[in-house]
């Protein structure tokens, strides 16, 4: 970011939530970069930016779409970059129909399944055909959504049958991606931005000029976002919209460019790379689904095609190496490398589905590991009620968090909905070790693994997760030893033998070595692998997570590399280790022009050295190192060998950056503006109000407010958005028990504008009660100009800001009502993340009622608005399209 000439921070309050990372924005600004903050609230990020542009929460696609339109209409796109490196010239199948033609729906929507058949969005093939995804059968969007298939694209794009695409390099054919994108965004105008986002035309033009004047050969613009973009019912599409813009401006794979995901937890990147997620195996391989991945050959056929371009074509080697790492000698060619030891998915099994299953008594046991869903997950009341249906609950944490104590001091005990003496759940609280009491690696927000050395032993009965799970596994295996039951084979055959220290704590480096992988055969048997290109599908290699192969090359822990920053260049390749292959900027071949020369001296990064016949530069080149710029290998070769000299996107099936996504997304191939599940504003772009493919949970306890223009909308007239403070961490488990931090931010509050305070009679520092269709909470009132009422679609929209760190319990130093109790569960269909950045509410002065009165208040509002489980949950809202 320090190399950027313009930085747009949107969907993030970087200066407060990533204060130390913000020094690089400050550094860029000191060198003359322009910094623009687009956010519903004026925050400390806004205070140190060149400009703050207030936006209505949830309207980001209108703004980004209008920027795309501005760039195309004013002919400001980076022509050489776009023509060579993106799929602009690729032809889309003739059956494709855009949302512009169908009232906000794309071709293929199935109202019964509330999902798309995405086949008409495919690339055209020679003749009449379409380039499908590989595998035995085409996957309907409903199935892809259930397994959140988009999560598997964390290290590369969606697979294609082959990469023999049809192109029109003049970009004139109406079926080219470029023409489709141009048409799709033609109505996303500055005036539409004014009417939907509440941003005036002058501010829009300032933003548009800033990014276009700071993009091109000599200059680069960077976008940064956080959960202000992800936690929406179309969150993945917010980020896609920024990706389209950045590709059009030529800002991907170049220094000072890109889209920076500012992740909020120490190893949240690592938690998806080596996933504790239902739908992934390590390295973004999918968990097998019944019906789609029934055998290893079905699985491998679907995961990546040998005929597509790039390194995903070698997914068979990554899969077999993982199975060898887990089941060792028991994984053989004869049993398909123990593939049938893997359990199968049959739909959505994400954390919110699990909550619903708990309420139906389908889940008996639940482990909570350093997480606080009673406070931190959307619809906290359903989370706590769900837990009360469990037979047993294991909470492992540093502190006695609310998720461990809801049975005695939770809000439902106070409201009388639950009685401690009636709750059957057994609860185990097991104390955990802190980050300094164990060794291990975190993967930070730029894919950099950094090792932590152990400083001291954990106190008392505290244990690391590593030790707890190692011991739990040992006990389970000991109790099952000798079992003849076939179902126990995967546990008994599991490689589960790690050296331990004198306290029984396993050696984390031995685990890292297994993740890295080793040779199993030949003269080098046992030797650690140094690159994922060494992995083989014949059982001769083992690796627990292929994208991390190389972190333990030569038997040395590169995550622990610690050459001081001042002793090396700005790319700092000798501090930690970044996946893949210690590359710091992904797709960096795009930092050079198609002929392999830097786009400019100022933005020089990786280039082709004709004399040496290889790519060289400041970083590890993200390209086959000896593939000359002009190479045009036959695409039919497949895999890395098929990559042309101008295919910088080596993990994409066609080697190109995707403006239009023919595969991979289930809610549209192009980002399209839909309103949130709950919105006081009607969608001015389409008769379709909400994203038709969003995932809804129509049930008691999860009612939604009516949208604009439907009866009852006026009962919940205000928008609220949730956010973090510098001094607290998410649901507070690591901050509300610390005296310093608790003193700095002692209590829950709500931010409201002076205008809203007047409208509702709220007093400064008095109490307010905020009521949503799910619950009501109380908060101290902070009246501030930081929140501006916005003029949207002819009326005023008031937004309320709510930090979400507090929870109701009796053990923390500071407690308070939880903002997440107000939220409902509605999910993005690509990734099953909840919409928690925008919802509807009412606010009034005074504290909330106690006891049974609380639910009575919520019910009275629901009755006044006429809510039922179906309210707000229709898939298609265009009267012309309804049955």
């Amino acid at each position: 970011m320090a190399n950027a000439d313009c930085i747009v921070i949107q969907g993030s309050n970087m200066a407060e939530c990533h204060p130390v990372g913000y020094q690089w924005v400050a550094e860029a600004k000191a060198r003359g970069a322009k910094v623009i903050h687009v956010d519903p609230r004026f925050t400390r990020t806004s205070a140190v930016a060149d400009k703050h542009i207030p936006i209505r929460a949830g309207s980001d696609v209108v703004l980004l779409g209008a920027l795309i339109n501005y760039v195309i209409t004013n002919d400001l796109w980076f022509k050489e970059y776009v023509g060579a490196y993106t799929n602009a010239a690729t032809l889309v199948h003739a059956d494709y129909r855009d949302a512009e033609d169908l009232g906000g729906l794309f071709s293929g929507f199935d109202p019964e399944k509330r999902a798309y058949d995405t086949s008409s969005w495919a690339y055209a093939e020679q003749g009449e055909g379409a380039i499908d995804e590989p595998g035995l059968s085409r996957e309907h969007g409903a199935e892809a959504s259930a397994r959140a298939a988009a999560d598997t694209f964390g290290s590369g794009g969606p697979p294609l049958e082959h990469a023999e695409v049809q192109r029109d390099d003049t970009l004139q054919d109406p079926r080219t991606v470029f023409q489709i994108v141009k048409r799709h965004y033609a109505r996303y105008t500055p005036e539409m931005v004014r009417d939907m986002c509440g941003i005036n035309v002058a501010d829009f033009e300032y933003l548009a000029r800033s990014i276009t004047e700071n993009s091109g050969r000599d200059r680069t613009t960077c976008f940064a976002y956080a959960v202000g973009w992800t936690q929406h019912s179309l969150g993945a599409q917010f980020i896609r919209a920024a990706a389209i813009l950045q590709l059009l401006l030529g800002n991907v794979g170049r220094p000072g460019g890109g889209i920076m995901a500012l992740r909020g937890h120490a190893s949240i990147q690592g938690s998806t790379d080596i996933p504790t997620l239902f739908n992934l195996l390590p390295g973004y391989l999918p968990m097998p689904s019944a019906g789609r991945h029934d055998s290893l050959s079905d699985y491998l056929a679907a995961v990546g095609s040998k005929q597509q371009k790039g390194f995903w074509a070698d997914a068979d080697a990554y899969t077999v190496s993982l199975l060898k790492a887990w089941w060792g000698e028991a994984a053989t060619a004869d049993n398909d490398w123990a593939y049938d030891y893997l359990p199968r998915l049959t739909g959505a099994h994400g954390t919110y589905e699990t909550t619903m299953s708990m309420l139906k008594d389908e889940v008996e046991g639940y482990f909570i590991l350093g997480q606080n869903p009673a406070v931190g997950s959307a619809n906290g009341r359903l989370q706590r009620l769900g837990m009360s249906h469990l037979k047993w609950l294991v909470v492992r944490d540093l502190n006695m968090i609310e998720s461990a104590t809801w049975w005695k001091d939770g809000p439902e005990i106070e409201s009388g909905e639950l009685r401690t003496e009636d709750i059957e759940t057994e609860v185990f609280f097991l104390p955990a070790a802190t980050h300094v009491e164990k060794a291990g690696s975190f993967t930070q927000t730029q894919r950099l693994l950094q090792w932590r050395h152990q400083a001291v032993a954990p106190p008392g009965e505290c244990q690391s997760e590593l030790q707890f799970f190692f011991e739990l596994g040992q006990r389970i295996r000991a109790k099952l030893a000798g079992s003849e039951d076939e179902r126990d084979r995967p546990l008994l055959d599991l490689t589960w033998d790690y050296p331990t220290d004198e306290h029984g704590d396993p050696d984390a480096e031995a685990v890292l070595a297994e993740i890295n992988g080793r040779q199993l055969a030949g003269p080098d048997a046992g030797k650690p692998l140094s690159a994922y290109t060494e992995l083989r599908a014949d059982g001769s290699t083992a690796a627990g997570c292929w994208i991390y192969t190389g972190v333990y090359a030569d038997g040395s822990n590169h995550a622990a590399n610690r050459k001081p920053g001042r002793e090396q260049g700005p790319v700092a390749l000798e501090w930690g280790w970044a996946w893949p292959a210690n590359r710091r900027v992904l797709y960096n071949r795009a930092s050079a022009d198609p002929a392999g020369k830097p786009w400019s001296e100022r933005k020089k990064y990786i280039w082709w050295d004709q004399d040496q016949g290889k790519w060289v530069g400041d970083d590890v080149p993200d390209f086959p190192v000896d593939r000359a710029p002009g190479s045009q290998p036959d695409p039919a070769l497949g895999g890395p060998a098929a990559l042309s000299g101008d295919d910088p996107f080596i993990m994409q099936a066609d080697g190109k950056g995707w403006l239009f996504a023919p595969k991979g997304l289930v809610d549209g191939p192009l980002p399209t503006h839909y309103e949130a599940q709950e919105s006081p504003v009607a969608n001015a772009l389409y008769p379709q109000q909400q994203s038709p493919a969003r995932l809804v949970f129509p049930r008691a306890g999860n009612f939604s407010a009516p949208s604009a223009g439907t009866p009852g909308a006026e009962v919940y007239p205000y928008v609220f958005t949730t956010y973090r403070l510098t001094e607290h961490h998410t649901a507070g488990g690591m901050s509300r028990w610390l005296p310093y931090l608790s003193e700095l931010q002692p209590e829950m509050f709500c931010e409201v504008s002076p205008e809203l305070a007047d409208e509702r009679g709220l007093e400064p520092y008095g109490w307010a009660t905020i009521i949503s269709p799910r619950s009501a909470i109380e908060a101290k009132v902070l009246i501030t100009d930081r929140l501006k009422p916005l003029a949207v679609g002819g009326h005023t929209v008031h937004q309320i800001g709510l930090p979400y760190h507090w929870g109701v319990g009796s053990d923390a130093i500071v407690s308070g009502d939880a903002a997440n109790d107000l939220l409902g569960v509605t999910l993005d269909p690509n990734v099953q993340i909840q919409e928690s950045k925008v919802a509807s509410c009412d606010i009034r002065p005074g504290r909330r009622p106690r006891g049974q009165e609380l639910r009575a208040l919520v019910a009275a509002y629901q009755a006044r608005a006429g809510l039922t489980a179906e309210t707000g949950n229709r898939a298609v809202t265009d009267p012309m399209l309804e049955d």
């Binding site: 006695m400 003496e421 590593l466 179902r487 001081p564």
Partner: protein, 188 residues
């Protein structure tokens, strides 16, 4: 009050100590001069990484008598260059907070209070429940006869402050046991 000699005049101190701007040793108080930083008296310094957000700031952990006595920013880190935010700066309290739980607690069905269990007993009880639930809720095949080999009776939700190595063992063990509802803050 004792008279001060002119040698203690600030300007003299500034000149004699080389602290010309008067922002260093020239203006220290006797109190400051009499104390020693914990970073000097520590037995050892260990390099670590801040556990809060994902910027990944370097930390130096100072240990004395096998206790963490201080945590500060690591100036060697090319990411953070020695800086920490309020949370990172308070992380010594994460380790030494008086409210931290260091013992195992157990709440029996319908009970109104916690009781202590020793760790080995607790882990053994969890293992028993894991095996029982797995057996009771096992799904070998779906209605079309396709292999499922799983339990839907066990679920997990982890925070994103878990180490890569920990996530790896968690995913490996649960997957081998057939538990698929394994989730993380990364979903949220």
């Amino acid at each position: 009050m004792a008279r001060r000699s002119f040698l203690q005049w600030p300007v003299v101190r500034q000149l004699s100590t080389g602290d010309l701007l008067g922002r260093g040793p020239a203006v220290t108080s006797p109190q400051t001069r009499s104390i020693t930083p914990r970073t000097v008296t520590a037995d050892r310094v260990v390099q670590s990484v801040c556990p809060y957000c994902a910027v990944g700031c370097g930390q130096r952990v100072y240990v004395k008598d096998e206790k963490v006595v201080h945590i500060e920013g690591d100036p060697d880190s090319p990411i953070s260059r020695g800086r920490l935010c309020p949370k990172g700066s308070a992380s010594e309290q994460l380790v030494n907070s008086p409210g931290r739980q260091t013992g195992v607690l157990y709440r029996a069905p319908r009970s109104t209070q916690w009781q202590h269990l020793d760790l080995a007993t607790a882990v053994d009880m969890v293992a028993d429940r894991f095996i029982e639930t797995r057996r009771r809720t096992w799904q070998q095949e779906d209605e079309e006869g396709r292999l499922l080999r799983r339990t839907m009776g066990i679920a997990s939700l982890g925070g994103a402050t878990l180490d890569n190595e920990e996530n790896y063992l968690i995913k490996k063990l649960f997957t081998a046991a057939g538990a698929v509802q394994i989730e993380n803050q990364a979903r949220i």
